[in-house]
């Protein structure tokens, strides 16, 4: 009697690949997220309005390590006036004695820019986070694709 024997080769390796893949993929996706946020940070620093550089210096990326937001990557702007540059404000007059909230006064700014008078009229804001985000979002699919391929290659070994 002829027996038909079928052997499936590589099953052990495939099983190992299927076990390893989710862990490697999760790690690579996390790395992709961190890279993306660091690129947004870099781009936002380039776009932020400058005088003493306090606003640009305050743009930081951090990873939440505990609590309900654990694992989330957060881009934060430490300077209290950052939101006004980003979202805008009603045009208004600022007295020279007022603080710029970056350790200086409006008078210091006026002196450096050879402005005279008892104050300045501010009306223009310069968004920096949204343009940076829009620019980097176009690269995100490529970034995710690179890291996914790396995870698959790593799981195959």
């Amino acid at each position: 009697m002829t027996e038909l024997i079928m052997k499936i080769k590589g099953l052990k390796r495939t099983n190992r690949f299927l076990i390893d893949l989710p862990f490697k993929l999760r790690r690579e996706i996390n790395l992709a997220g961190e890279t993306f946020m660091k690129n947004v940070q870099k781009s936002a620093k380039l776009r932020a309005p400058r005088w003493k550089g306090t606003l640009a210096q305050s743009i930081k990326v951090r990873k939440e390590i505990k609590g309900k937001d654990k694992g989330q990557i957060i881009l934060e702007v430490g300077a209290s006036y950052g939101i006004f540059q980003e979202k805008g404000f009603r045009p208004h007059r600022v007295g020279a004695w007022r603080s710029t909230r970056s350790g200086f006064s409006v008078r210091d700014w006026m002196r450096e820019h050879n402005a005279s008078g008892t104050g300045i009229f501010v009306k223009k804001h310069t968004p920096f986070i949204r343009p940076a985000l829009e620019h980097q979002l176009s690269n995100l699919p490529n970034l995710l694709s690179q890291h996914t391929n790396k995870a698959i290659k790593g799981a195959k070994r």
Binding site: N39, K42, S43, K45, L46, R47, R50, K52, G53, A56, Q57, H135, N139, N142, L143, Q146
Partner: protein, 155 residues
Amino acid sequence: MVTVNKASIAANVWETIYDRMLSDVTSVTITGSVTKTIQTYASSFQDKQIDNKASYPILVIEPVNLDWTPHTLTKKYSNGQFILNIYTTSSEAADKFIDAMVDSIETYRDTLLGLGLEFVDLVGTDSDNVQRGGFKLHMRSCTFSFRYAFTKTNP
């Protein structure tokens, strides 16, 4: 350039790449026989005055990122990435600088292997441009990966 050792991987790799860029990537010539020479080599982009056109080009060698993976019973791999950024006021110069940077790393791959850095490969590139006052600032970035094997401490 320094031989990489286990106790100071990040510092040694940064110094090696910095020395490589300092010697190989100094200037490029663009249309109109204009030469753009790098003004500053740094480890991070300045947060203060960036609106002075004469300060550019600036080459930034970012700090090295590392992670470990097991290799054998006695060895581990330190997998790393380093990112090189060029900031300049000319788009053509930015393209030529990025080519020079990539070419420098590729040409000296053998030398880098001799110092302990294995499989130095280009992972990807990036670009950005921003209007700063009276000029446009162009940024090009390239990311390289590498591997360094070292004897681990048991267990």
